[in-house]
């Protein structure tokens, strides 16, 4: 699904991602961990194609196609989607109006999905305007459920979400990632940034990666990695010379 090779990324004059190699197969869910400011969000934004991030070396291939220089919307149209940790507020633009566009006018799907995520009342409100942390997450997941990407990137889907909503969001994300489909037939893939790992209770992640200072320091079983981080912090990852 996604193949990243030897990726180097600069913001301004500073290289922030170094020699990133990542392979995500069809049906796989990968978890990305790492301390604040280590470059996790930058990696997601680079994969999506945002401005201000310059790929100086390497390639990003998606479904076999080199997308390294492709504009954002073409990547989205190829089947990529992203949940933002801090999405912008768009004054005046109603969430429902955007969903009407992205669903291709399928009001029924919009309304059913909004109901599932308890977002009915938000369809008539401007996107993210005055939304609480949990509401922003639900709005993001709602937009993705309408978009139906084959490859989903999630940036801390559980942060700022109360316990009641975490199961709602967790189950919705599981759906997004085809977790209700038998593993043999599962087609959707994901890359999930998490600090707490709570979201892993809803998604069985296949692989984990630890990023520190813009490089991968570890690859392995996500639960094992999380256990180490929880007990010893990221210094253990820095000291570990596994890769």
């Amino acid at each position: 699904m996604l193949d990243i090779e030897d990726l180097h990324v600069k913001i301004g004059d500073r290289e922030v991602l170094h020699d990133i190699n990542l392979h995500i197969g069809e049906g796989e869910t990968h978890v990305l961990m790492g301390p604040n400011g280590s470059g996790k969000t930058t990696l997601l934004r680079t994969i999506m194609g945002f401005a201000g991030l310059e790929v100086t070396r390497g390639t990003i291939r998606f479904k076999g196609k080199d997308i390294t220089r492709l504009p954002i919307h073409e990547r989205a149209q190829l089947g990529m989607g992203m949940q933002f940790q801090r999405p912008p507020t768009i004054a005046g633009l109603k969430l429902g109006k955007l969903l009407q566009v992205t669903s291709g006018g399928n009001s029924e799907a919009v309304s059913d999905t909004a109901t599932f995520l308890h977002m009915d009342a938000f369809l008539e409100r401007a996107i993210n305007q005055g939304f609480s942390g949990g509401e922003i997450k639900r709005s993001e997941v709602l937009q993705l459920m309408i978009q139906k990407p084959d490859f989903v990137m999630l940036d801390e889907p559980e942060s700022g979400v109360d316990l009641e909503n975490i199961s709602l969001i967790g189950n919705a994300i599981a759906k997004l990632l085809d977790k209700d489909v038998h593993i043999v037939n599962r087609r959707k893939s994901g890359l999930v940034i998490t600090h707490t790992g709570y979201i892993l209770d809803y998604l069985d992640a296949d692989f984990g990666h630890v990023m520190c200072d813009g490089v991968f320091r570890c690859h392995g079983n996500p639960r094992e990695i999380l256990k180490v981080i929880k007990t010893s912090g990221y210094k253990e990852c820095l000291a570990c010379q596994k890769i």
């Binding site: 999506m48 945002f50 401005a51 504009p71 954002i72 919307h73 989205a76 149209q77 989607g81 992203m82 933002f84 999405p87 912008p88 768009i90 004054a91 005046g92 633009l93 109603k94 109006k97 955007l98 566009v101 992205t102 401007a126 937009q143 978009q147």
Partner: protein, 371 residues
């Protein structure tokens, strides 16, 4: 081509379309009354609902002596060269609308001022809503597709009685060489509500206006909303003024302005003259292509316990907003258009659906032709 226009249906299809864009129903469906003036000729005056009377001003002044008390009282004849010009005309044109005590119009009343042959069109209108009356007016002002030059001078005086509610929605569709100088003022009595909406999404050479609301009655309310796009060569100087002179009075002035190369001066002035009054000015401007948006909000408080505020912002569409929508699969142009549509999407509280739809349609038409 313009020789025999006796009703809106006599206009060419193209011009009917231009009128439809200003919210007018050429066949008068769903209207409580209608007034149609082409240049200086009044073509149609129709009262279609009980309690609401529509008259040509010359007829009205003959029919009702008391109307003199309302004529040129809110807008002084010598306010400026334009009002003087209108006042000096031997024959007054324009309309008078009287909504009788307690009448409630289900449908809006439409007034169409159409400029066909390039010269000066002048009108003097008086709108009176008696105690408890509810009246909705939509004025569509347009020029013929073949009319390239001309001026429109319009004086309108609104009297909103006790507990009355008046909405006035004006949608303009002029030509590139047409200059427009509306001069209007209103007085709002106790518990009265006056909503004034202005939409101009099409080219015009020059438009200059600054309607004034005198909030004289206790708990009276005035809300002015303007949604405008200034195209290259268009110069718009738009403002509104509210004087809060009774306890509990409140005013809100709201503007959404876009320039694609033209200039917009957006003025707003609220004066809190007595205690327990409130006012707010909000002006948001988007500069899509080099043009000018000059926001001049003014607030003046004369006493303790008047609460006045303003917020103004002028800028471009934020890159992160465009990219956010692109990540949902919209192209850059689609994302931009979607954000602009949202920017202009102002829902005016208290406005009947049918009129909100007309405003939305005017914005849709501009969206289709590209910002």
């Amino acid at each position: 081509m313009s020789e025999n226009i006796d009703q809106m249906l006599d206009l060419s299809e193209k011009d009917q379309e231009r009128l439809a864009q200003t919210g007018l129903e050429v066949d008068l469906k769903n209207r409580s009354g209608s007034f149609f003036q082409v240049d200086q000729e009044i073509k149609q005056v129709a009262s279609l609902e009980k309690g609401i009377e529509v008259l040509a001003i010359s007829e009205a002044l003959k029919k009702y002596d008391w109307l003199e008390e309302y004529s040129w009282k809110l807008v002084p004849k010598d306010k400026d060269q334009y009002t003087r010009y209108v006042a000096e005309q031997p024959e007054q044109n324009g309309f008078v609308v009287i909504a009788r005590r307690g009448s409630r119009s289900v449908y809006p009343l439409q007034a169409c001022l159409f400029l066909a042959r390039g010269n000066v069109q002048h009108v003097h209108n008086i709108v009176i809503a008696e105690e408890g009356a509810e009246l909705h007016i939509i004025s569509g002002c347009a020029s013929a597709s073949y009319t390239k030059t001309g001026s429109h001078l319009g004086v309108t005086e609104f009297y909103i009685g006790k507990d009355a509610r008046v909405t006035s929605t004006m949608i303009h569709n002029w030509g590139e060489e047409i200059s427009v100088f509306p001069r209007s003022a209103s007085v709002v009595e106790e518990n009265g509500v006056f909503l004034s909406n202005y939409v101009c999404m099409q080219p015009v050479r020059k438009i200059q206006m600054s309607p004034v609301a005198h909030l004289k009655g206790k708990n009276s309310v005035a809300r002015f909303s303007s949604i405008v796009v200034s195209t290259p060569g268009s110069a718009m100087d738009l403002g509104s003024v509210a004087h809060l002179s009774a306890e509990g009075a409140s005013a809100e002035l709201l503007t959404r302005a876009i320039t694609t190369g033209g200039s917009i001066v957006s003025r707003g002035m609220i004066e809190g003259q007595v205690r327990s009054t409130r006012g707010h000015i909000e002006c948001k401007g988007l500069i899509l292509k080099d043009g000018v948006i000059h926001a001049i909000p003014e607030i003046k408080g004369d006493v303790v316990d008047t609460e006045l505020s303003h917020e103004a912002a002028v800028g471009k569409i934020a890159r992160d907003e465009i990219e956010y929508l692109m990540s949902r699969g919209l192209s850059e142009d689609e994302a931009t258009a979607t954000i602009i549509r949202g920017f202009l999407d102002v829902k005016i509280a208290g406005l009947p659906d049918v009129l909100q739809k007309q405003i939305d349609a005017a914005i849709d038409a501009a969206e289709k032709s590209g910002f």
